[in-house]
Amino acid sequence: MAESLFDALRRPRLVELIPADDAHAARTALAAHEAEGGESPAPIRALVGFGAWLAALLLVIFAIIAGVQEAAAGTLFGLIAIGVGAALRRNAGPGSVFRSQFALSLSLAGHGMVIGFVTVDGDALAGGIIATGLGLGGLFVVPDPVHRFASTLLAVGGLIIGLLITTEAPAVIAVGLALVAPIWVAVFWQETRWQTSKWADLQLPVGFGLSAAIAALAIPSFMPDFSDAAPVAGLTLTGLLAWVGLRIARERGYALGGRPTIAVGALLVGFAWIGLSAPGVVAAALGMVLAVERRHPVLLGGAIVFFIGFVAAWYHQMELTFFAKAAALAGGGLLFLLARLALRPGEGAR
């Protein structure tokens, strides 16, 4: 099988890290861990998340057409659903797949009802604050990675969307993006520290939830009204990209100076320029760097898709003639190719 970019991110295997003397005990411990449910790989988590979201949507529709249409009743039903869902999930054993799935769906449906009824009742900001509160609470109360992912999205998105609806100022999204991005970087950068703390279980769901939130916040950056505030987010993200790049270089013993520094500097200036109108492009580039540095293929795949999408959208929305766009594309392409030449010690095979 050919070696791909994703293969290069493969983590070392336990058998390579654990000394032969300790291998027997480790095998027994790991077999017991797997027998108790173990770790769910990304495709299973994605399927569980999709199923829970769909079932939650259907449960909300059922509640509404069954007669729960008053704000007070809807909020109460929602709170009960959250409570029952959380209790069921907390008490579900490792093999209780159906109970866990039901609990997850019920809790998400409850969240949807509470936030929806409060917002529709006329107070978007209150709905946003409640969403953020429920999200933060859910992170600690419901010990389920998919629920924690959704809770992170709620915690970030709730307040920002509530403020956006209330103030009708698109700048809220850009400022939100600028404030969330450093937390996102910190969560992945400090992975080892998190993983040895008592909050270890939160790190990956929160990291991936923040990644999804950043992507969702960057999508509206192509709306015309957003452009005035975009530099706040774009420059923050470029600053973070520069910081992460510097740390990676320093940890590997590279010193500043010479052609490589000029090349990286030119690329950063290019990203800063793009970030002034399209922060999503810089966010996706930062996501790619974090994914490689922390060996997360799923994050890398998502960041690559968003990078291509954001670059295409950025060029598409430029108010330029075909020739000016061609010149901009050629200029950008040459910048990347020249940077490659400057950074390359010698070209190797695949």
Partner: protein, 330 residues
């Protein structure tokens, strides 16, 4: 199949912490191994990855620049110059690929030359106003790429070739060159190139198989098409609509069962197995909806029953996938 070694799995933080909780690792060892497992690539690996990324992005932007340039159809530029410039771009990229076939830049140049060939054909059509349908451009483009694809067997180039071939088929049916009446049969025809590619990948021996992302992308396209067909048949097929697609159902079920391990010699691919389950959940849920709402006029109770059915289906899928994972599916 022999039992997989539990330690022959990636050193994720969750597994290392599980070993620590069960006293198989002490505090110091846990810190050291977490660091070793989560630490990024070495300087040399980073340089290689950066090299690939900069080359791919730079080449992609340059090819897009050429396409945008010709899309502008500059009236002041003589036709000969337009054709000459497009041909020079193709020749330059293909020449570099021929000069350095083993280098990364050579392989990227060949994919760029393949993309530029489409631009060249478009310029030709622009100048001579041949009046031919658009599908002929894509069909010609696809045919011209065959020798390059066979020579390089490089996944990005094969992907481009499959996309171009698929577009030729889709446009061919739209523009009447290929007459297929049923909507679901059209979907199956469009998925044909991806299905062929996926089948070839599955039949190739392990050392010659393309990168996993390519196999999974082709497989995803196949199951997306089969899901659409299943969805359409569930909605219309019982009333006689799209009847021509019914015979496709059996091979579809067979392929799904094979991906889930029936008669399969290779280990199960967990990603594709999840896609098969997702496909089954979508089709089954549509079927329940059809039965409950059209057959029994179930109203709000029907919505509740479907919600519970989704929970049950996903539960079965998750339990099955988890067991497959514990038995070595990756």
């Amino acid at each position: 199949m022999s039992e997989p070694d539990p330690l022959d799995t990636p050193a994720t933080a969750a597994r290392l912490r599980a070993l620590h909780r069960r006293d198989a690792l002490d505090d110091d060892r846990l810190h050291t191994l977490l660091d070793a497992a989560a630490h990024g690539p070495s300087g040399a690996e980073w340089a290689g990855l950066l090299d690939r990324a900069l080359l791919a992005i730079g080449a992609g932007l340059c090819v897009a620049a050429v396409i945008y340039f010709f899309a502008g159809n500059w009236a002041d530029l003589p036709d000969a110059a337009k054709l000459g410039a497009a041909m020079a771009a193709v020749a330059g990229a293909a020449g570099w690929a021929l000069y350095a076939p083993e280098r990364r830049s050579g392989r990227v140049a060949l994919t760029a030359a393949a993309g530029l060939t489409g631009a060249l054909l478009a310029v030709y059509g622009q100048i001579y106003q041949t009046g031919a349908d658009a599908w002929t451009l894509f069909a010609a483009w696809s045919a011209l790429l065959v020798p390059w694809v066979l020579a390089s067997r490089d996944e990005p180039l094969i992907t481009l070739w499959l996309v171009v071939g698929t577009l030729a088929l889709a446009l061919g049916m739209d523009q009447g060159a290929l007459r297929v009446r049923d909507e679901s049969l059209r979907i199956l025809v469009i998925a044909g190139p991806a299905a062929a590619a996926w089948l070839v990948c599955e039949l190739l021996p392990e050392p010659r198989r393309p990168a996993r992302w390519f196999v999974r992308t082709a497989g995803t396209a196949v199951f997306a098409a089969l899901t659409c067909v299943g969805f359409i048949l569930t909605l219309d097929g019982f009333d006689g609509g799209d009847a021509g697609a019914w015979p496709a159902l059996l091979p579809g079920l067979g392929i799904g069962a094979w991906v889930l391990g029936l008669g399969r010699k290779r280990p199960i691919d967990l990603y594709l197995a999840s896609i098969v389950w997702l496909s089954a959940i979508i089709i089954l849920t549509t079927l329940w909806g059809r039965v409950l709402f059209d057959g029994f006029d179930a109203g709000e109770l029907g919505v509740l029953l479907i919600a519970l059915a989704v929970i049950g289906e996903v539960g079965v899928a998750a339990a099955w996938l988890r067991r497959a994972w514990q038995r070595g599916a990756r």
